[in-house]
């Protein structure tokens, strides 16, 4: 019995990291990150729920340096949705430009065209990162 007790105490002190990893892994798999393609560009939702409530209808990027990136969102829910958007622009040489996270509110069931000026790169690609707004 004593051996079991010692073993359990040792277990308690040694297994925290894998236990925590399992917990967060489980939480992450429930929340579910999601990657989808829209108009040839990647949309990444760190929590899949965001992508299930907000549709990305279109993404376009001007094919010139310092041009605009335009993304059209649709709120699928019956509430005013609030979420966070960031852009990651990669030029042909691989250099990455990131925009700051921006909170976007969309009235129930409506669409919104959101534009970020001055970030496009000629021949580049854009990745739209969506997250919950905290």
């Amino acid at each position: 019995m004593k051996k079991l007790l010692v073993l359990l105490v040792l277990l308690a002190f040694s297994s925290c990291t894998p236990m925590k990893r399992a917990q967060t892994g489980l939480a992450r798999s429930i929340a579910g990150q999601e990657r989808i393609k829209v108009d040839g560009y990647e949309v990444y939702c760190s929590e899949g729920k965001v992508c299930s409530e907000i549709d990305v209808l279109s993404i376009s990027m001007e094919n010139r340096d310092k041009g605009k990136v335009r993304v059209t969102f649709k709120n699928r829910t019956g509430n005013t949705a609030l979420f966070q958007v960031r852009l990651e622009i990669r030029d042909p040489a691989g250099a990455v430009t990131e925009t700051r996270p921006e909170n976007i509110a969309i009235p129930p069931t409506q669409e919104l065209s959101w534009e970020m000026p001055g970030v496009a790169k000629q021949g580049g690609t854009v990745r739209v990162l969506m997250n919950t707004a905290y």
Partner: protein
């Protein structure tokens, strides 16, 4: 029976000893600068300032200045005409930092030789003082439409920025808007 109790206790011990190490104490919480705090408030937030400064700076840096090798812009003032006591210099400094950062990316790598036209985009320089060598003046104004009732308050804030040339002609203007509804009682200091 005792064995089961011990196993359950150990399991609970494992779970409780696995509390998050990245979770912050309740005394002071350090937030990301673009993160909304839990205090609320319908006025300007740090996220608004960061977003609007980035948008304005990127837009100005993307202007194609024809017939200019060097453009000198003076960021003069930002007027606050709202009920919120905002330190406008927070916006001004954030904006100036972003203007310098995003405009440097578009500056030509080498200066053109004397008498030659600049091969790339014009170099943009910024100052805070208006002198004779300034080509454009950049200023901002914050205006608001505020409502209040027993249910709470609502504020629509309009941040407008404009570039005017020496003849006082507006050559560029952009706005950033927020509308927030909330409870009365949040103090802006």
């Amino acid at each position: 029976m005792l064995k089961q109790l011990l196993v359950s206790t150990a399991f609970l011990l494992v779970m409780s000893s696995c509390t998050s190490v990245t979770k912050q104490s309740s005394k002071t919480t350090i937030l990301g600068a673009s993160q909304e705090d839990t205090l609320g408030g319908t006025g300007t937030s740090s996220a608004d300032i960061r977003t609007m400064a980035e948008r304005m700076a990127r837009d100005i840096a993307a202007i194609e200045w024809e017939n200019y090798k060097v453009v000198r812009i003076a960021l003069t003032h930002i007027e606050n005409e709202t009920r919120f006591p905002i330190n406008a210099n927070v916006i001004k400094d954030r904006l100036l930092a972003d203007l310098v950062e995003f405009s440097q990316a578009s500056a030509p790598k080498t200066a053109p030789a004397q008498g030659e036209v600049a091969p790339g985009p014009a170099k943009i320089q910024f100052t805070e003082s208006v002198g004779a060598n300034v080509d454009f003046r950049l200023s901002g104004r914050i205006t608001a439409l505020s409502k209040g009732s027993s249910e709470g308050v609502s504020d629509y804030l309009l941040y407008s920025f404009k570039l005017v040339d020496k003849a006082n002609t507006v050559v560029w203007m952009k706005t950033y808007e927020t509308k927030k509804q909330g409870n009365v009682g949040v103090m802006y200091r």
